[in-house]
């Protein structure tokens, strides 16, 4: 069988490209998986057209969860928040391209879950502001 830990995953875990924090992020959320202790915080800035201009994450946890969110933030540049809301487990699986067991899939999905929760909150705030 092919490994869950292809070089890209390990590299992105050891040296993530999108790790960091953003001040004045439009979208910001922080969540944890209490059972394994994985934690992820995401920050997203939108451009004038409402597309994703810059994204960062902070967090601790297993290589799968951390590399997955790092690759995710790379992939969403230029997307609209609504487009991100449309992403699902299949997107993550394709993006990672590794054989994930159900338990480990949960690790892989944590970043997307946190990001989408942040977007929902952002939208609610916008609606509240508009009305």
């Amino acid at each position: 069988m092919s490994s869950m830990y292809r070089q890209l995953i390990v590299d992105r875990y050891k040296a993530p490209l999108f790790k960091g924090k953003l001040d004045n992020a439009d979208i910001h959320f922080h969540d944890a998986n209490p059972l394994c202790g994985d934690e992820i915080e995401v920050f997203v800035r939108l451009d004038d057209e409402g597309k994703i201009k810059e994204a960062k994450f902070d967090g601790t946890g297993c290589a799968i969860s951390q590399a997955s969110v790092d690759l995710l933030l790379e992939g969403i540049e230029g997307m609209t928040p609504d487009e991100v809301m449309g992403l699902d487990a299949d997107f993550i699986k394709e993006m990672l391209n590794i054989p994930l067991t159900p338990v480990r899939l949960k690790c892989a999905l944590l970043g997307l879950k946190v990001l989408q929760a942040g977007i929902l909150i952002h939208k609610k705030k916008q609606e509240a502001g508009e009305s």
């Binding site: 069988m1 830990y5 390990v10 394994c36 799968i64």
Partner: protein, 406 residues
Amino acid sequence: MISITEILKDFPIFETKIHGKRLVYLDNAATTQKPRQVIEAISQYYETRNANVHRGVHYLSEIASEDYEEAHNKVAKFLNAKGMEEIIFTRNTTESLNLLAYSLGLNELEKGDNIVLTRFEHHSNLVPWQQMARRQGAEIRFIEMTEDCRLDLASAEKAIDDKTKVVSITHMSNALGTIIPVKEVSKLAREHGAYMIVDGAQSAPHMPVDVRELDVDFFAFSGHKMLAPMGIGGLYGREDILEKMEPFLFGGDMISIVSFDNATWNRLPWKFEAGTPNVSGGIGLAVAIDYLGKIGFDKIHYIEHELTEYAHERLNELSFIKIYGPEPKYKGAVVSFAMDGIHPHDIASLLDEDGIAVRAGHHCAQPLMKMLGTDSTTRASMYFYNTKEDIDALVESLQKIYKLFS
């Protein structure tokens, strides 16, 4: 004396290939594998003599009842109880401990009483007591852990007092392997008239247990951690206490006389076993105990202690490994460890790719993990069918993993 080759032949699962590799099973504290004698006993039961027990007068029911009673007798002997009236069959340790928490908690625990546990408790010996303490207005106290992850007996003397109704402690920590000096604690419980309960989930499979010599009132265990099928476990209880104790589950077979308004209870141990029991599980448990008897706890201890010492020795050679818990002489065959910069889940997944089964996580001991300053560890736990080759495979794979990440 049975050789390890003969032993391994008794466990069909070792023919299974994991990702094309030999199975190296080091998750025995979670559950053990089953010898063919146990598996065949279950099949044979269902193929030739399956029936419901208790009061059936037909042939199948009579032999099922005898076999089921006999299984109680076997467990009684195994724990050196007086007889089968002291042995209640449950699903697992968790149910055994809940039985006690409910029966003693609801009927005897009063406001101002306290319950004494240790810092090592599995959630199953912590959460039921938390709930009952809250319901009844009682207090939970803890016997502390020493720096080197052993029981701090001095703190036991402080924790246990005349308001202590229940002392309930693990016999061996599943997270760290620490063996708890039950008899010393029991002495304190006796002095203060508290019920003395032992969570034996990790001890019954690995060491001889003599409930009278330990001088305890209750002893809980799980069959699945000692070669027996899942869905069967037990609780030893001292006869005079069980006689007076209120039943926990109500229904068929645990009653004597029932009217629309009222009910009286069956004799021991049936008073505590409501509904159709897991007969095949009981039969499997009896065969598992026979199997353990054939190997012998002397040999089991010898093998496991050798393996634990060897594992410590080999893992200590690796600079990037940190072992949690006490030295081998103070513990059972459990090695819990951390690896620099690599998450336990990644370690376990990568070990799995080499066919090595370990557990990664909090081991149902979240508060203990927190005390140790972590969320989770990787845990290798051995049984008598493991070998030094298994440890070597673990060490080799850990080295590969470290290289991959550095």
